[in-house]
């Protein structure tokens, strides 16, 4: 897919481009806010990566303008480390996700994949993957027709994995979206809950649904 990167630091931009192209994405680049806004207005992009601090027009104003003009293109904000507090402002201003510099490139790729393919705005009532069915109204999960008894935290984790089925999900994405923890814990929260979920889900089944991706994350695959 085609991604627009609006980032003024050439070295950061170069790393990001490299990582995204390696994933088979097409990347268009812009070095300042005004030019970036003009390019973004063409509306040809599957997602935007926007730095918060830009010459000309700052990232937040840029996205606010795009949103005011009716653009729905998903936006991932990048910010420097000092801007922890900006996250809320960024998300309120129309951003879909937020990444603090410095970040691992796998993190960026995973997040951009997650927001770019979020496409379907319909409210799901059920989620499926292979022989696994999740009923979001009754809060039940069945695998191969058999009820899987999950704790609330495990249910939330599985729901997030199902909504992002087929995409790599990083630890920090899980911490932020499942447990609302916006910091790096010192205990293995993710691993603990994940292994419990897997044990319950895969008990008596030969096919594993959730796989660990070496380096930084998990993927739920039904094939």
């Amino acid at each position: 897919m085609k991604i627009l990167l609006i980032e003024d630091d050439p070295e950061t931009a170069d790393h990001i481009c490299h990582a995204l192209r390696a994933q088979g994405h097409e990347v268009e680049e812009s070095r300042d806010g005004a030019e970036g806004l003009a390019t973004a207005r063409s509306g040809q992009h599957a997602a935007l990566i926007v730095d918060r601090m830009l010459p000309g027009l700052d990232g937040l104003s840029l996205v606010k303008r795009l949103r005011a003009e009716g653009s729905q293109t998903p936006v991932l904000f990048l910010t420097t480390m000092s801007g922890i507090d900006d996250r809320v402002a960024g998300l309120n201003g129309g951003g879909d996700d937020y990444l603090t510099k410095p970040f691992a490139l796998v993190e960026l790729v995973a997040r951009i994949n997650a927001i770019a393919r979020r496409g379907d705005p319909r409210q799901h009532v059920t989620l499926h993957a292979g022989d696994l069915d999740m009923d979001l109204i009754r809060r039940t999960v069945h695998r191969g027709g058999k009820l899987v008894d999950l704790q609330p935290q495990e249910f939330k984790l599985l729901e997030y994995m199902l909504r992002n089925a087929g995409r790599v999900v990083t630890r920090s994405m899980l911490l932020e979206n499942v447990w609302e923890l916006h910091f790096d814990p010192r205990t293995n929260i993710v691993e603990t809950h994940m292994s419990r979920l897997r044990a319950k889900m895969d008990r008596g089944h030969s096919v594993e649904l959730i796989h660990t991706i070496r380096g930084n994350g998990y993927i739920l695959r039904a094939d």
Binding site: D85, Q153, T187, T192
Partner: protein, 449 residues
């Protein structure tokens, strides 16, 4: 200095006071002169009325001749009116005035010979159908008195004005001298002499108080700068260790790695090490940001009971896997005002500490109670505890107990807890519980509703 004194606030205030003084002095003078004038005229009219009454009396008892007699007597007596006149028809019977039109009531007459500065004020009356009496006095005396008073007042006024201006200049000079001292101190500090302070006079006046406030501010800034210096040193010192490790790993890979797998492993380790370094930076920045107080904008009402229950669900399995027991007797709800994200991090940190720093089999209790308008959260364990003399040090940045030096971490956890607590105007205290284990008590005001 003289010119500069004219441009000071002290001089401006003094000038305003002088102007107000001049205006009120002028008003006072006008009123005084008016009263003096009235008083003189009253006096003249009183004398005239007394004369006329006496003439009238004489006329009534013994006719015209007696009236005539009275006037002659009165004219000779001291302290009487200056001028008297008794006329029968057009004919002057007695008195020292030329015949004049028979006007009645109080009026003024030109002075005989129209002498400058003189005029006659008096009363004219008919005591019988054809008998006219006038008595009056020269207004010149009133005029003289007025002039004397005016002259005196002008001299007094000029003297006072001169004094006021002199004292205004003195005040502004003294103010200027003192503000110059403050300015000099500030410039000295700007030039690098950070220990410089404004000398106090001990008079406890407003300038002394201002100087005291500025000195206190300078002390605070100095303390913050010392703190910053200390942090910078700590960071530099603590960063050397992980960076050195990273370097060793890379060197070893270059000299010893033989296979692609070896290189892969070395790279993985190097990435993990740099992640650790970045995590250290993030933690430091977060503490700095919280201490800066910028996050108070994110405060919202929240239920501490619900927040802790949720953390119980998150950390329950983690504790279980670490062979610990996590127990949460929560007597919630407890509504408070705070930053949910930061408080989540605070309590996560304390629960993680209890899990990480105690041996397997330890019972960790997180309790919530309401006491005297406060929510009290106690996180305690029945582990080995920490000696009381170390309790205060635990909140310092980079402080790590000997026992935990081998575990990963940088000793920033409780420094962060302290910063978040401070931001919330809450209190946190370390204690040893009945079981001899470690306890940390967090108190925060319940919100009013």
């Amino acid at each position: 200095m003289r010119i500069k004194a004219l441009h000071t606030e002290g001089f401006r205030i003094a000038a305003i006071f002088v102007a107000i003084f001049a205006l009120s002095a002028a008003v006072f003078t006008v009123i005084t002169l008016f009263i003096v004038n009235e008083e003189f005229q009253d006096q003249i009219v009183q004398f005239a009325n007394a004369d006329i009454a006496a003439v009238k009396d004489g006329y009534r008892t013994n006719g015209e001749a007696e009236a005539h007699e009275v006037i002659s007597q009165r004219m000779a007596a001291p302290g009487a009116s200056d001028f008297l006149l008794l006329e029968h028809g057009e004919k002057r019977l007695a008195g020292n005035l030329a015949p004049m039109p028979h006007k009645t009531g109080i009026f003024t007459l030109p002075y005989p010979g129209n002498a400058a500065g003189h005029a006659i004020l008096g009363v004219g009356v008919f005591i019988a159908p054809d008998l006219y009496v006038f008595s009056g006095s020269d207004l010149y005396h009133a005029r003289l008195a007025r002039r004397r008073i005016l002259r005196t007042l002008i001299w007094v006024f000029l003297g006072a004005l001169g004094l006021a201006m002199l004292s205004a200049q003195a005040v502004s000079r003294s103010l200027l001298r003192r503000t110059d001292i403050i300015g000099r101190t500030c410039r000295a500090i700007m030039a690098g002499n950070l220990a410089s302070r404004i000398p106090l006079r001990g008079t406890e006046d407003e300038l002394d108080r201002l100087s005291e406030t500025i000195n206190a501010m300078l002390d605070r800034i100095a303390a913050l700068m010392d703190n910053l210096k200390e942090i910078t040193n700590d960071i530099a010192h603590d960063l050397r260790t992980p960076v050195t490790h990273l370097r060793h790993r890379l060197e070893r890979a270059r000299s010893q790695a033989a296979t692609t797998e070896d290189y892969d492993q070395a790279l993985e380790a190097a990435i993990a090490a740099s992640d650790d370094i970045l995590a250290l930076f993030s933690a430091l920045l977060r503490i700095a940001q919280i201490e800066g107080g910028a996050r108070r904008t994110a405060f919202a009402p929240l239920d501490l009971g619900q927040l802790l229950a949720q953390l119980g669900e998150v950390f329950g399995p983690v504790a279980e896997d670490a062979k610990h027991h996590l127990c949460l007797p929560l007597n919630g709800p407890a509504s408070i005002l705070g930053d949910r994200e930061l408080l989540t991090q605070l309590f996560s940190n304390l629960i993680e500490n209890a899990i990480i720093h105690t041996p397997a089999g330890t019972l960790v209790t997180v309790s919530l109670n309401r006491e005297n308008g406060e929510a009290v959260v106690v996180i305690s364990d029945d582990g080995p505890g920490v000696p009381p003399e170390e309790h205060d040090k635990l909140f310092q940045r980079f402080y790590r107990r000997e026992a935990s030096r081998t575990r990963p971490g940088y000793g920033l956890g409780l420094a962060l807890v302290a910063a978040i607590t401070e931001l919330h105007g809450a209190r946190v205290k370390i204690d040893t519980n009945a079981a001899g284990g470690f306890s940390i008590i967090f108190r925060i005001s319940l919100s009013q509703s």
